[in-house]
Each structure stands twice: as C-alpha cells, then as structure tokens.
C-alpha cells in the first residue's frame, strides 16, 4: 500500500474496479501525503468532502455503476470554480469566495468518478510563468525547492511531481499547462481551443483560455482528457460540437494508444500511411544544433536556448527517428512576434474580463471609501496584485481610442498570420516538435521584478496558443542542475488522439516520464 501514490491513473482505475483497493483507502493515502501542504501546492483542502466523495465512489463500485475513473483522485487548479471548496484564482480579491456551482470540467470529472482532493495554487488569475504571482505565496519545485515550479499551473505541476495527487487539472492561456509540466518533469496537454468547456473557469483571456489535464504519462492524460472534454453548447459559445470518430466513441482520446505496433510504432503513423512526419521549426533551433533532418537543408540560427535543453530535445528527436518517425524542417516565420501579439491580446481581454471585480456582487470590498467610484478604485487596488494591474493597464491602453488599430487590431492580424504559418507547416508534417521553454526552472525570485523577462521566456509556447492548436509537454530528461526538460509537441486542430499517441509511443520506449524528484 505504501506505493499507492506512485500508481498511475490507469493503474489506480483498474485496481479500484477490481476492488484491490477502496476509493476511501486511496483518498486517505493522498490526504496523508498532502498533510502540512508540501510545496505550498494546495490552497484549499477539505478532507471531509474528499472522503464523502470517495465513500460515494465505493458505493458505486459495489453497485456496479462506476464511472471509467471511479475513485481515482484528482486536484483542481484554483481557476475552476467549485461548490465544495473555496475558489480564489490565486487572488486576494476572491479570498474565501464560494461558487454556487461547479465548473463543467469539474462536474464532468466527478461524473467520470474522480474524487476531488482539493484546490491547487496558481498565479493570480493564471497570469504568470513562475507561480510567484499568487496572493497566497509561491509554490516550490519538488526537484529543487529553491526553484520555481513554472506557471501558471504551478500548484498542479508540483503536486503531480511530488505524488500528492496522481492527476491535476490545469489551464493554458499562453503555456500555463506545458511550461509547468516541463519544469516539474510531468506530462500535460492543452487540447484544441473549444474542446473543453470554459464554463466555470475564471476568465483571463477568453479567446485563449483552455483547460487540460496534467499527469505523469500521455496514457493518463488521454484518459483524463477524454473525461474532461465534450460539447457544452448552452453554456460556452466557443465550445466545439465535433462528431467523434468511431475510435473516439469507444475509447475517447486513448483509442490510438491501444494498438500494438511493435518496436517501430511510428513507421506507418503518418496521415498518408507512411512514417510519421515530425516538423521542427528552423526558427527554434538553438546555436550549435546537431539536428539531422531527413529532408531540406536546415538553416541554423542562434537563439537564447540553453545548450542542455537543446541537447535533450535533439536526443528525443533522434529517439523518435528510431521509432520510425521522419524529421522534416518547417518554418514558422511570424512565430517570434508571438510575444508582443500575445501580451496585447491577452491584456486586452483581461482588462475587459476583470472589470467584473468591483466589490459589489462578490469578493473583496475596501473598508473605507468616499463614494462609489472611490469604492471601485480602492477595492481593485487592494485586491489585485502587481502583474494583474500591469495587464489591466496594458489592456486599457491598447483598447483605448487612437491606439486600438495600431495595437489591438494589428495584433489580431498577426495572430492570423501565425495561425496560417502553422497550416503551411502542417502541409509538410503530422506534428511539430520543439522546446517548451528556453531554459529549465529558474531560482525563486530571479525574474520576479522583471515582467518582460518573464514574457520572453514564453517564446515557444505562445504560437500554438494564439492559433488555438492542441499541444503538449513530455519529459525528455534532465538539463542543468538536474532540472527536468520538456519537449513540446503540437498537433493540428482536433488531432489530440494522434498527439497523445505520438507522446505515448515515446514513453513506451523511454523512462524519462518515470524519473522522480529525490525523496518522493
């Protein structure tokens, strides 16, 4: 039983189904590990609620009415509203807030049988890349507690890496699932924009926000993603209603993982029945790159990417070739403009979304004020942290009269050019691979006073976010100071099953995803 916390979601689901262990036993084990709140990963824990859910799961298992993930624990990023736990979005302005309803993602995972362990720390309103913008304190990285866990889903990545939970939800607006997954050596996927309902996700940038699972393998992520996604047409106007393929109807996003393809599993996994073609954007190659392409002549460019990060990515690509994949060079010419484009679009949307926090209908209200306008100002100035205020100010600026065309509209136009770049690249390949971040996790406080330095570190995750493409991070070994390196895989719209398959084949033949932080 001591090894229960090292079991995968798939294993736990099978053990629970076969009654080798009860949901209450599993929940109790994880609640014990969460005691003392290691890494400051959790913002709300309520063992009574958790154990009651586990009890209900055990009854369903006994009656034979269990869901596919019945009794398996999960913890939710504090961006998802929950009836039974407080929801703060990492902000002081929502301290002690209780939602009258559950987010669609939360209720779907509960319907699948999952037991909620609690709510996970994150950057305030998911704005950040280090989890240092939480009003409730930074989260530490289980691999090195003097380092950040990544952000904004930093509580999620730390909790999964430290085996405080087998799985967590995250949200990804500009990399907030992929980057913390990479920094903590776990696996995470952001699906196509519109796959998971945004109903009950505290809104940051509505045209970018998307929910996804974070766990320790692609296999687990496929199970979780299948349970999370689905049309929510009356509650989310951007929810997709795409018909499922025959395979998806039966096994969700896991359907391609179930087939045995021998030891060259990608040799016939391309969309034309040939080898899977992995595209590597030439703009993402670091200096001194040794990547050997199967076609085209690569143009080498020097970037600010760590040499160790670059090496791990190249080794992973070489491994992919041994699995039968082909490596082709592609180009994303406008991708380097993603930083200004993203930070203009997200700030504009944030300034609009966050106007609802006025101290009237919910959340914090300033104690002293002279009139209504003063109450709004004091409430917001007290309740929001520095990064949130910065983005609201940038948003107000780029949306204001005289600047709208030059900034906001121009950003939206380049956003389309970036999305079109991807379509040109996908004409030559099935998936795109590259780094998740230019470095491994940095030291706590290193970039805390330099917002632009934080923004620049998002260079590899922003393009797929702007285009709305499904994308994920898988561990590919350790870099400087023994910190994990993540490789990013990007698929075309709605290709989650294939993306997860590509990640799973790598994990079938490697053990990077099994490596744990010391002492866990």
């Amino acid at each position: 039983m001591s090894e229960l916390h090292n079991k995968s979601v798939a294993d736990l689901a099978a053990m629970l189904k076969n009654k080798e262990v009860s949901a209450v036993e599993v929940a109790t084990r994880f609640l014990a590990r969460m005691g003392g709140n290691p890494h400051n990963a959790f913002l709300d824990i309520n063992s009574e609620v958790t154990l009651a859910q586990a009890q209900a799961s055990d009854e369903k298992i006994a009656k034979g009415t269990a869901g596919p993930l019945e009794g398996v624990p999960i913890a939710h990023k504090d961006i998802f509203v929950t009836k039974d736990f407080a929801t703060t979005a990492g902000s002081k302005i929502l301290k002690d807030y209780r939602s009258p309803f559950d987010a669609t993602v939360v209720s779907k995972l509960r319907e699948a049988g999952m037991v909620t362990l609690g709510k996970l720390n994150c950057d305030e309103f998911a704005m950040g890349s280090a989890n240092e913008n939480s009003a409730y304190g930074a989260v530490t990285n289980p691999w090195d507690t003097t380092r950040i866990p990544g952000g904004s889903s930093g509580g999620s990545s730390a909790a999964v890496a430290a085996r405080l939970t087998p799985a967590a939800t995250g949200t990804d607006t500009g990399g907030s699932i992929r980057q913390p997954a990479a920094f903590c050596g776990i696996t995470g996927i952001k699906p196509t924009y519109g796959r998971a309902s945004r109903y009950g996700m505290v809104a940051f940038a509505s045209s970018l926000d998307q929910a996804g699972p974070m766990a320790r393998s692609a296999e687990d992520c496929a199970l979780l993603l299948s349970a999370m996604c689905g049309p929510d047409l009356d509650r989310d106007s951007t929810s997709l209603n795409v018909p499922q393929t025959e395979g998806e109807k039966k096994f969700g996003f896991s359907h391609l993982l179930r087939i045995d393809h021998g030891n060259k599993p990608l040799a016939a996994a391309g969309r034309d029945g040939g080898p899977l073609k992995i595209g590597y954007p030439r703009e993402w190659l670091g200096g001194g790159s040794q990547v050997e392409f199967d076609s085209n002549a690569p143009t080498r460019r020097s970037e600010g990417t760590d040499i160790e990060v670059q090496r791990r990515i190249e080794e992973a690509l070489a491994h992919y070739k041994s699995l039968g994949a082909e490596l082709v060079e592609v180009s994303l010419p406008q991708a380097q403009l993603s930083i200004p484009v993203y930070y203009i679009v997200c700030a504009a949307e944030a300034s609009s979304n966050l106007s609802r926090f006025d101290g009237v209908k919910f959340g914090h209200r300033a104690k002293e004020f002279s009139d209504l306008a003063d109450m709004y100002q004091r409430t917001r100035s007290e309740g929001f942290g520095d990064e949130v205020k910065r983005r609201i100010m940038i948003g107000s600026y780029v949306l204001s009269h005289g600047y709208y065309d030059a900034y906001y509209l121009q950003a939206q136009k380049i956003r389309r050019m970036i999305a079109q770049d991807f379509q040109q690249a996908f004409a030559q390949c099935d998936v795109i691979a590259g780094p998740v971040a230019p470095t491994t996790a940095w030291k706590l406080g290193d970039k805390a006073d330099d917002p632009v330095a934080n923004y620049l570190a998002d260079i590899f995750t922003l393009p797929a976010s702007l285009a709305g493409l499904p994308c994920m991070s898988i561990p590919v070994g350790l870099g400087d100071m023994g910190m994990p390196v993540g490789m990013q895989l990007i698929g075309n719209y709605l290709q989650e099953a294939q993306l997860l398959n590509v990640a799973h084949r790598f994990q079938q033949f490697t053990e990077f995803h099994l490596v744990k932080p010391e002492g866990v």
Binding site: D96, Y97, R98, S99, P100, T192, Y193, G194, S206, S207, D234, S237, T238, L240, N241, V242, Q334, L337, I339, P340, Y343, I344, S351, D358, V360, K361, F362, R365, D371, L372, A373, M375, Q377, R378, R380, S381, K389, R390, I392, M393, I394, Y397, A406, Y407, L409, Q410, K413, I414, R415, R416, M417, Q423, P451, V452, Y455, L466, A467, G468, Y493, L494
Partner: protein, 111 residues
C-alpha cells in the same frame, strides 16, 4: 513612442485603479519596457489580413468543409433565448460583501 506619467494617470482612471507616486513610476518603466518589444510588431505589413478574434474562426474550413462549420460549432453561436436557469438569488449572493433584503448594497449614488 513611450508613455508619460500623464498616460499612467489616465489609464489608471480608465482601469479603476490607483497607484501611489513610487508605484506609478515603476509601472511607467515596466510598461515602456513592454512597449519596446511591441515596436517590432508595428512594422509588419498586415494589409489585407483579416483580424483573428478567436481560434474557432481560424478552424473554419480548415479541418472541415465550410458547410459543416455551423453544425459542428465552428462558428460562434447564440443559445435559444429561453429561461434555462432557476432563481438562486440566495446562493448567488452568499459571497457578496453587502446584501440587504436580497439587494446588493452600494454607497449612495444619487443625492
């Protein structure tokens, strides 16, 4: 171009935020640092490019025939204009800072 401290005052007013003099000055430096990296974007020729407001728009006609776009939710839609929620005033007001007899309380607006 760069922002001035008057711009910060105006934007703070628009954003319903207040900054003391040291915070306003720090913010001015940070925003100007950000708008420096924005400059490269302004030089791009985007004539004829239709602005992209959300990714669902970019998916239209790419993965599916355009004729199917409506059916699959590839265009933004409105739900039927019918009552779908029941009255839950009490639950909805539970987290409000000041409520009396089912009403949200705010400072006096009209003298």
């Amino acid at each position: 171009m760069s922002l001035s401290s008057q711009d910060i005052d105006r934007l703070a007013q628009l954003s319903r935020l207040q900054f003391g003099p040291p915070a306003a000055e720090r913010l001015l430096g940070q925003l100007n640092g950000f708008f420096e990296i924005v400059e490269q974007m302004r030089a791009v020729d985007t004539s004829g490019v239709v602005p992209m407001a959300h990714p669902v728009d970019a998916m239209q006609g790419l993965t599916l025939a355009i004729a199917d776009a409506d059916e699959y939710g590839m265009t933004l839609r409105l739900r039927e204009d019918t009552v779908s929620e029941t009255n839950q005033r009490e639950a909805n007001q539970r987290s409000a800072p000041a409520v009396e007899r089912g009403l949200f309380l705010v400072p006096k607006v009209i003298e």
